[in-house]
Subunit: 316 residues, 2 copies
């Protein structure tokens, strides 16, 4: 990676954007990339799936705990997972970035590397952006995607009798954050899970093809996000804590930090797992684990009871 010396203020907007653009890859879906008033992206089935998220320094990431590329990966992953949770395939990212003039330009370039890397992992590319000055590093990412002719899988279609299943990790990012918060740097697997979530992008469209009736991206925490799904669908979600696979290292780390591993699993967000409901006769591939069932009623119950732990991420 080529190094750049100087701050964003010293180099200026035009030079930094040119350096970012030179590092970004592209895909066939990006019909017109960065450098004009707007980008043009393919939307083959005449619809586009679109979502926006903000990450604010100090609130969603700390520059002490995550390298710039890691922050880029996380910002991209949070948005790309929202596209996958609709059953769609990501096509492009747009990135708005507010940074202090005294931020090293190299930090911005590495952030762009992370964004581009994660976009590529999902089959997408960065198609445009904006760079402005602000006192706090703030990253706005819009992700676009295509439904490939399918109907979107919303939060509103779960029916009593459906299975509840999850693909991807639960609680790993929360565990990593807990480790970092106590000043530790290991276990590496958990710390890395906080720094770089690995959303199972392909499982979103796959779930749609398998007939998923509803789906969400687990960004706030499983109970919280399934709560949104239950409310939108007008059903109750019943989870079975025995059904969760809890690796030994995960359990041991929680114990060492006097934390409840089930709390990380049920209330930890930011792994960007996908949680979906399926008709009971579905033949699920191995990436999906059944963790519960949909019943008539409302709310999310764990082993038949209200979950007494914290509900997950709160913005305010």
């Amino acid at each position: 990676m080529t190094g750049t010396t100087g701050t964003v203020g010293e180099l200026g907007e035009v030079a930094v954007i040119a350096a970012i653009t030179a590092r970004l890859g592209t895909t066939g879906a990006v019909l017109l990339g960065p450098g004009d008033d707007a980008a043009v992206i393919a939307a083959p089935d005449a619809r586009v799936v679109a979502t926006i998220d903000l990450l604010v320094e100090g609130r969603h990431f700390k520059r002490d705990w995550s390298g710039a590329a890691d922050v880029g990966v996380r910002a991209a992953a949070a948005n790309l997972a929202d596209i996958a949770a609709m059953g769609a395939v990501p096509t492009a990212l747009l990135v708005g970035l507010s940074v202090p003039a005294e931020l090293p330009a190299q930090w911005v370039l590495e952030l762009a590397d992370g964004l581009g890397e994660e976009a590529a992992r999902a089959g997408a590319a960065v198609a445009g952006g904006d760079l402005v000055r602000g006192e706090v590093v703030t990253i706005a990412v819009t992700a676009l995607g295509t439904l490939e002719g399918r109907e979107p899988v919303t939060r509103a279609g779960a029916r009593p009798g459906d299975l509840v299943a999850v693909a991807g990790r639960l609680g790993w990012a929360a565990g990593g954050l807990a480790v970092l918060s106590r000043g530790f740097r290991s276990p590496r697997a958990l710390v890395e899970a906080h720094r770089r979530p690995i959303p199972p992008y392909d499982e979103g469209p796959r779930a749609a093809v398998l007939g998923a009736t509803a789906m969400v991206d687990v960004s706030d925490g499983l109970v919280s996000d399934l709560g949104h799904l239950a409310r939108a669908s007008g059903v109750s979600v019943r989870l079975d804590s025995e059904a969760f696979h809890v690796p030994t290292e995960f359990r041991d780390t929680a114990r060492a930090l006097a934390a409840d591993p089930l709390q990380w699993l049920l209330a930890g967000g930011e792994d960007h797992a996908l949680a979906a409901t399926f008709p009971p006769d579905v033949d699920l591939p191995m990436a999906w684990s059944v963790i519960g069932r949909v019943e008539a009623g409302e709310g999310v119950l764990v082993d038949g009871a209200e979950w007494a732990g914290p509900g997950g991420w709160r913005s305010f």
Copy 2:
């Protein structure tokens, strides 16, 4: 308008988003609106035009000088004009908002009103968003649009011999900002132009139909933005200062503030006028004023000379 008491922190993310959503209108192009992991928007010709911009409090707006609805209008206008500058018709906005917990929720609702109002003026609607906590009010807007089967009008197609023309106001927002900066509140027309630009959205697609060879949104300043166009096209843009219509009140106000009205016209951004190049035999409608000509060479000349004034908005 219904009033809301309490801060964003007191009401919480869910309640504020619900209140915003209840106020927003929609259009036929928004196939799935706010409330799920992502929105779904029509892209009838299998392509989507997309752009993102950030507005940061203190840098791009002051809460003292602009009401929340005005800030919403400006944030929407800046992005919608980028869509129009591609020759496209806006379809939807996505809005990411970072606000302090102690901000009155009413401010956020009025901001949403302004965003929705300006989106509607352009034929679009707010289709989704994100609300997070941050110390500085930061507004990220993504605008989407459709090319209606046409090719995008980029910055790169101007050819020697083309006419240079502009639709919309130039320098009014800069004049209004100068008035406000000196502590005045009038002339109203200029102050209002700063608070609420009126981009000529319809003129973007119209210019494309008329055969515009290149187009930009004037957001940084005419000389600066035509400079981008000249560079991308590999041509020189020659402007004739006599060709600009300068209203008497505009000229008088500049004089009263010891400012050069030509500087407001040539270097003032944020009116979001559209500047385009056309083949010389074009029959331009009245909304467009011819202000110069494209020649071989490079750069932007005013009355045959380099423009000696400030070049326009700089982010850093």
